[in-house]
């Protein structure tokens, strides 16, 4: 029992240490600018919503949030749809190039975004994809596809081949095999790949800044407007940040079990 208390205390202590910066930012968002830079920092102070109002005045948070949602979920659905056939094929079909293909797919993620910025900018401009939802979905799908493929492959590979074989004996064709056997068995893996992809898209801060302007700009652009203006800005920045990360934090909290379970690659039998 003593052990439980001590270990609980230690665990909780570190947990709070990890969480503290976020908490601090949350508190700061309710201070006035002058209060926010006071030193020593104040823990008890008069709460104010003035920062949130300022932010609403300056930028339409709703538009950015809607864009973030559209782009993250759109790109995730597309990614999963493209990845399932590939992962299935690599997991269940004999293919002597399998390792090479997996490696190559993963290596496509190694391309540094900055190096191809100008070519991508020109391609987007000419294909009229600039500042469109579709353009952003496409590019984020391609960026995250390797990870999704890889995650799904690992999860599919854990399904015992006997189950697949027995479904053939029962007369299932390939489509049936995928839809009624593989997918249901790997649902945890798919949902965690889904969540991870949504998180990665939401937090993406390079392409979303460079290839959008007003129509499809997501929350990462929203933040940029509060990041380093003339004058005092800590409180407003905190408020904007809270608004930008809140949706994903809530999503992450409620689905942490899902997120975690899928990342085990079948270690749990």
């Amino acid at each position: 029992m003593i052990n439980k208390i001590i270990i609980s205390l230690i665990t909780w202590f570190f947990g709070l240490v990890f969480f503290f910066p976020i908490l601090w930012m949350f508190l700061t968002s309710f201070k006035t600018e002058m209060e926010a830079i006071k030193f020593p920092p104040s823990f008890i102070f008069e709460l104010t919503l003035v920062n949130y109002f300022e932010i609403q005045e300056r930028s339409n948070y709703f538009k950015y949030a809607l864009n973030s949602i559209t782009i993250s979920f759109g790109s995730t659905f597309l990614g999963i749809a493209l990845a399932i056939p590939v992962s299935w094929s690599l997991a269940f079909i004999k293919n002597k190039y399998k390792d090479f293909i997996l490696l190559w797919i993963l290596s496509t993620k190694m391309m540094p975004a900055v190096g191809v910025l100008v070519p991508m900018y020109i391609i987007f401009r000419d294909a009229k994809l600039m500042d469109t939802h579709f353009g952003m979905i496409v590019i984020l799908t391609l960026t995250n596809l390797p990870i999704i493929v890889w995650l799904l492959y690992n999860y599919f590979a854990e399904i015992p081949y006997e189950i697949i074989e027995s479904s053939h004996i029962d007369g299932a064709n390939i489509l049936n095999e995928i839809i009624s056997i593989v997918l249901p068995l790997s649902l945890p893996g798919i949902s965690s790949a889904f969540l991870l992809s949504v998180i990665l898209c939401w937090n993406e801060a390079f392409w979303s800044l460079m290839l959008t302007s007003t129509n499809s700009a997501p929350l990462s652009v929203f933040i940029a407007s509060f990041s380093s203006p003339e004058g005092l800005f800590w409180a407003k920045l905190s408020a904007a940040s809270v608004m930008a990360i809140m949706p994903i934090m809530v999503l992450g909290w409620f689905s942490q079990k899902q997120l975690v379970s899928g990342l085990t690659f079948g270690a749990i039998k």
Binding site: N3, K4, S8, T11, W12, F14, G15, L16, F18, P21, I22, W24, M25, F39, P40, P85, W88, S89, L90, K94, I101, L103, I105, S107, T108, M110, M111, P112, V114, G115, V116, L117, V118, P119, I123, L142, L145, N154, I174, I199, W202, N203, A205, F206, S220, I223, S227, L237, I245, I248, M249, W253, Q256, L259, V260, S261, L263, T264, F265, A267
Partner: protein, 287 residues
Amino acid sequence: MQLTRVSYGKIILSPTIIILLLWILVPLALTVYYSFQSYNMLDGGSTGYIGWMNYEFFIFDEAFYDAIINTFITVLSLLLFTVFFGFIFASLLNSDIFLSGLVKVLYISPFLVIPTVSALLWKNLMMDPINGFIAFLLNLFNYEGIDFLNEYPLASIITMLSWTWIPFATLLILTSLKSIDKQMIESAKIDGANTFQISIFIILPNIIRSINVIILLETIFFLAVFAEISIATNGGPGTETTNLPFLIFQKGLQNFDVGESSAGGLIAVLLANFVAIFLINLLRKNI
């Protein structure tokens, strides 16, 4: 005609592979093309072929050597910290504690924060030497505020990134820990094994797989770290926190030299591919 299963499988692969190929080849081809041109954006277009000059300029730039070293230091130290602390925290979370579900939420939160927000948060609210929270804590213990981003720039960046990625490693290791059969540990204890032996022979083999996954995924991300550096230190002071992606960014979007940044981009791709091949060969048996 019934397609055989095998050929069906290969055909299904094609669309996605083709899409990825296009995604890689087209921008990459353009990048290669630009890397041989003298192209400053402010001139409005390329002003002519200059052979290998961009590569020369990029590689023999003082900053290149620093960038490579910094990239490696960043990646290696982060891998070490995340795995090490990930294991410790995962072990803690795996034990019998109060409200474990709730405290897990605290641990995963840093990973969910947008990198730009995280960098701004650390740079301003936490690490500011005069008004930051850490300065406040130091003052409580009678120390002067420390200017982290100037005196220990790379360490500060690594701290920020650890804050974000230790939760990731913790989660992965935690789930493998949970899958270890408690019976095995109990019977080993009965057989007289001490904690050390249990760790090496029972726990370690089971989490190796998670650790390999962590290393592979994290390396990909760490080689490309950019947002935190650009916001917190802008590569400085001097070149102390400049890594390869940042150097490429600097050439491309601060100096607006498309030629040189394309050359740098190509070099970065080659480097990353080498690392990928090396890693996968190293870890392949365990995946």
